[in-house]
Amino acid sequence: MSQRVLDGTVARYCLALGDDALVLSQRLCQWAADAPAIEEDVALMNIALDLIGQARSFLSYAGVREGCGRTEDDLAYLRDERDFRNVQLVELANGDFATTMTRQLLFSAYQYELYEGLSRSSDEEIAAVAAKAFKEVSYHRDHAATWVVRLGDGTDESHGRTVAGIHAAWPYTAELFEPLDFDAALVGLVEARIAVDPASLHEPWLGYVTSVLTKATVEVPSTTWAPAGGRRGLHTEGFGYLLAEMQHLHRSFPGATW
């Protein structure tokens, strides 16, 4: 791979990592002042804050490697839906607290395996960001697991909502482990040990998630439906609204500093 192609490929890879974190953070921000206990307002904002930090690190680095002078804000606020590379799981609506926590469990458990691997990336910057992020998502994963267990094994009502939440999110997890071969250059990143092969994360992820769901007395769903497309810019109908809300003010003042 030429340096230019490598730079562009690393940029695209980091964009996807950053977009995942950015979009989920945006969803979590919607919980402010709405959480079921004030302690959860603190915890959810804490997770949202960590994710924004991850998003900023990956987006900034993507801008640097891309080499066109795009900043983290240019990337966050001036791209359209088709240019966002997040998985669809993170853009799903919050729903109730069980839906949010099941989504969080499934995604944080993925990030846990992902960052664990990426902390050994041959790209120093990615490795550094991943090492810090790994500690953060360990906490997020534990937090989500703590709640999924309590909601799954709490009352009949909470159990029902947890089952519903898991079933809503589960089909979207397939995309997390999709191989990167829709973009040939990304496969090269895996070979160069810059990126992690998503498929390799599936088994440890499933092992962990299964153990949590078992404790939560919730059956692991099985479904053949596997929506995907986020990594290629094809998102859900709700995503346009999410971006519109997120980007509107920034776009209304082109070139302004905040």
């Binding site: 002042a33 206990a37 607290f97 309590r150 094994d153 709490g154 302004a256």
Partner: protein, 332 residues
């Protein structure tokens, strides 16, 4: 058990207050001291929680990732401050659930500054500069409040609050020095938040019947008017640096007094908002009540799980202590 008389207890209490030391949770205190503190601390806590709403309103629309991060941190802090304060109130013998019930029933208040809407991004900066600035002015004296847990909570809160105010100031500065439209946005926000902010110090001293007793108890250290004047004196030069006007044509330096003269406050608006007819009172409360009610099943689930775990532990080792509270001993 000692046989302290009521008179001894009052004397001990007075001695602690007079020597500027701290009353702690297990000390004797007059009923009125306790109830005044419960109300004041609870309303302070409620203010933090309700305050998450006007600011949370801009989380999803923050115009840069840096500002978004700063605002998330701020909203998180507000929730945390509410928790510190509920904790302090609970040392006085009430439960947080009771206090929240009173808030939801409209029988305890929160700072009426939060009954105003955040209509633009600049409002977030204005709140940081003015509302948090006024709050800090109230809170720093409270770090020396006579009641220990409240004073200590205030120390922690003040440390965290200082970055909130600077964040607001810096944001407004950036707007004011930005595009013309940004400057106008900042000016418009200040125009709307200035008067409500100086009303945060409460009614004029002449109209404030409880202040005297609170001061005697070491709960209140400075009068409403004193703090308000101090705040205005600080804000005027800051506004000049911001390049923004304060919407009060009377504001002028009075050499004789050594303070800024300022215009008449519309106390009828203050009373209206206080009594429930501000722009956002109904919305703030119903939002808060809805969040609480919709979260009941979650809180119940957590308790149900805890109870199940407890039962399992008891089944494994019968005869170990259960969750039943033991009755209070030595209650007067």
């Amino acid at each position: 058990m000692t046989t302290t008389t009521a008179a001894d207890a009052q004397r001990d209490f007075d001695a602690v207050i007079d020597s500027d030391q701290r009353i702690e949770p297990r000390d004797w205190m007059p009923d009125a001291y306790r109830s005044t503190l419960v109300r004041q601390i609870a309303q302070h806590a409620h203010s933090e929680i309700i305050g998450m709403q006007p600011e949370g309103n801009w989380l999803t629309r923050a115009p840069s990732l840096k500002r978004k991060a700063i605002l998330i941190a701020k909203v998180q802090d507000e929730a945390g401050h509410g928790l510190y304060l509920y904790g302090a109130a609970e040392t006085l013998g009430v439960s947080r659930e009771d206090l929240l019930d009173l808030l939801h029933a409209g029988r305890q208040r929160y700072s009426s500054i939060f009954n105003y809407p955040t209509l633009t991004w600049a409002d977030v900066g204005a709140i940081g500069w003015l509302v948090d600035g006024a709050a800090i002015m109230n809170q720093i004296p409270l770090t020396r409040c006579s009641y220990g847990p409240y004073a200590r909570a205030m120390v922690r809160i003040c440390k965290e609050e200082s970055f909130h105010q600077r964040q607001g100031f810096e944001s407004l500065l950036t707007l004011s020095r930005g595009t013309e439209a940004q400057h106008e946005m900042a000016q418009d926000a200040v125009n709307r938040w200035w008067w409500p902010s100086i009303m945060m110090f409460g009614p004029p001293d002449s109209d404030s019947p409880h202040s005297g007793q609170s001061m005697a108890w070491g709960i209140k250290r400075f009068s409403n008017d004193e703090l308000r004047q101090r705040f205005i004196d600080i804000c005027v030069p800051q506004a000049a640096i911001l390049g923004l006007e304060l919407p009060d044509p009377v504001l002028t330096w009075n050499e004789e007094r050594g303070h800024y003269d300022f215009g008449d406050i519309d106390w009828s608006e203050f009373k209206r908002v206080l009594s429930g007819d501000g722009p956002c009172n109904r919305q703030r409360l119903s939002h808060r009540v809805a969040a609480h009610n919709e979260g009941q099943w979650v809180r119940d689930a957590a308790m149900a799980y805890a109870a199940k775990q407890e039962a399992l532990r008891d089944a494994v080792s019968p005869g170990t202590e259960t969750e039943k509270d033991s009755p209070d001993a030595d209650v007067a």
